[in-house]
Subunit: 204 residues, 2 copies
């Protein structure tokens, strides 16, 4: 199909498609003649993924890493998941003390060498940001964060499809990134329900 | 203290402080003379909050809403939490079908009128984004998301301090926003641990 047909098929405007092409987020079209570029269902599917990622607030640079992980998955399943995570975890720069983060994630069963260091830096950066605003997670709350995230991760990883490398990568990459807004929104709703339970019922 | 002293006290550079002042994220200094502006500990504390929010990826517009909620908290605790949530929940625009979101959050104990509609739209938008990329949360995983978020919310709301309105607002606003990166990073670590458990142990 032509670029105008790709636009109709996906609901993404032609200038946006051209922007994604320039940014390397979509594979180039097949050139059937000097002025004729042909797109197929593969482009349409990728375009939906890119639009959804960017629409969810994922940056162009991170989206590029996600599509790279979808395009060239490593062979070993565990390594594959590590690569997918690394691709979609923003790299936190700067020197920081990882001690508190290591102690925290040890309670999740983490140990040195088990996984990609990027996520450990992300935990440390999140703890540092809390310290910076003088916010302390109450003592009874942190264990609930840990046990909840362990429950979630076990259920998610149990669901990784093993029929093909492509479907496993797709599941991990999209499941990691695209589920985040859902989890955060559900937390907000649950907080409002818990707040109504503790502080009084609905008005109006 | 002068602006240069405020910069030293907080580690935020003077041009950045001036930018925050222009954006209305910091209260104006007390003017002791036409050319003399005096800042106090209140400015330093607010500056640390603003820098941490913006450093966590919260937009200037959302940060402005957060500091407004810190400055003018409503009196009723439940309403206060609703206002705080509304302030820090990005407003999702556009027409959308809320049916699936309502059915989902009903399992959290939500019912119409209980809380701010903003969060319901956020749930619906997150579900729509998953549909757009063709990702389905496995049937056995969604109940784990719901029960985990309920456990987290109950523990968090049980920890809301009631000694003063200010401390309650601070807890809710900062706890909602600043804890998000921590939860997401812990989920990534837990996923890698679960992946190592399922697909093989650490290499190297």
């Amino acid at each position: 199909m032509r670029i105008s047909e790709l636009a109709s098929a996906t609901g993404v405007r032609v200038p946006t498609i051209k922007y994604y092409l320039r940014e390397g987020l979509l594979p180039e079209a097949e050139r059937t003649a000097a002025t004729q570029a042909v797109y197929d269902e593969r482009h349409a599917q990728r375009l939906r993924v890119v639009r959804a990622l960017i629409g969810s607030g994922v940056s162009v640079a991170e989206t590029r890493k996600v599509v790279a992980a979808l395009d060239e998955p490593p062979a070993d399943p565990h390594e594959l998941l590590g690569a997918a995570h690394a691709a979609v975890t923003p790299v936190v720069t700067g020197e920081r003390d990882l001690t508190a983060a290591q102690e925290l994630v040890a309670q999740l069963g983490w140990r040195p060498g088990l996984c990609d260091e990027t996520v450990l830096h992300a935990v440390a950066a999140a703890l540092d940001a809390l310290t910076a605003v003088g916010f302390t997670v109450p003592e009874h709350v942190m264990p609930v964060y840990l046990s909840s995230m362990r429950d979630i991760a076990r259920a998610e990883i149990a669901g990784v499809p093993t029929d093909s490398v492509e479907s496993a990568v797709r599941y991990v990459v999209l499941g990691s990134v695209m589920v985040e807004p859902l989890l955060l929104a559900l937390r907000r709703v649950a907080e409002q329900v818990a707040s109504a339970e503790r502080f009084g019922e609905a008005r109006g």
